[in-house]
Amino acid sequence: MLKIENLKVEIKNSTILDGISLSVRPHTITALIGKNASGKSTLLSCLTGERKYTGKITFCDKDLALMSQKERARLISLLPQHLPVPDITGTDLVKMGRTPYLDIGRRFTKEDELQVQKALEAADAKDLSLKKISEMSGGERQKIFLAMTLAQDTRLIAFDEPTSFMDIMHEKEFYRLLTDTVKKYKKTALVVMHDLTRAAEIADSIAVMDNGKIVAHSKTEEIVKSGIIEKLFNVTRYDFNGLTIYR
């Protein structure tokens, strides 16, 4: 589905991504893990066209570099780490998710309204529709932004550390929603994660990044067994009741 080949990004003569190659299988959750400044967020910004790169990124065999911004936005959506606080209601924000389908000659239709309602329901955010974003808690804001990306109705959703400002209860709830959405609506998720235990729990496959390179990418069980996470992050693995915990 998503295929990245020999991706390179240089910023001010410093190499941020150094020949990344990665394939993401459809309808799965791929966790992207790595130390700080290993290039995870830069990789996501290449997918949305924010960052210039050399190499090739294809989505269903179509080169992203040859697509317009709008075409790209109909295939890939992004939920960034730092969420803004616009002075609008939840519904107004979720409606923005339909932007790639609207134009000067194509205004908001019933079909768009249906997608917005569906997204609010899928993200369990119906009760937030009339609430102002500025009055929402961190967890509620994350939910409503998730609803916005779902309203965008893309096949791939990229998340950049989506739960970094959440308490453990909201984090658990967010990943439950994410796994449910991937299964129910047949979405594909590429998630930058810092919580290694959570990555081992929810991801179908894990890609490990270090110094701008993918050093390992395989099914979650294989990555866990390989011991690369312990080696790279200097942590210990505990297996407890079928759950893998990194400390």
Partner: protein, 197 residues
Amino acid sequence: MYICSKINFSKSTVILAGVAVTALLNAAISFVSYFDSDVLSVYRYFSVGGLSGITPEQLKTPALIIFTSVAIMLILSSKVDTLCLGDSLALSLGVNVKGLRLICLITASAAAGSVVSFAGLLGFVGLVVPHIARKLSGGNTFFLTVNSCLIGSSLVVLSDLFGRTLLSPTEIPVGIIMSFIGAPFLFYLLARRKNHA
């Protein structure tokens, strides 16, 4: 705009580029007035700002530019809303961020330039009006634009009426009245900012 396109279109870049261009043009005005002192009296009237002596006939060209600019802004208002989410999200939503920002800068500059070239430097309209309009319309760019147009034009016309009648038959330029309204409003904004901090 050229400077911004070479660096970036962030708010601080636009403001700093504006300060630099203003300094350059002020130097040009000083240079011209050094050789021809008559220019100074015209410039003084221009810098205060006023609507006297302008006929409806003269307003055709600026009206065309202003109405076109407002129409473009209204058409693009939903896209401008997405810009408020930041560049990453706007790009992810399929918005051509650089292009949209350039169009916004051109239309805003054209509309402001048309007004200034006829009414002079009407101080504080651009500061007072968008704040009031934002209070009324929240984060919705469409309503913000409509409210700004209505409140801005009403405020200038009322200030002009006040200036013409207060010391009649002497006319106080509308720019002076606007400054009397705008300066306290600026103090109010600063006080509110201090309270928020």
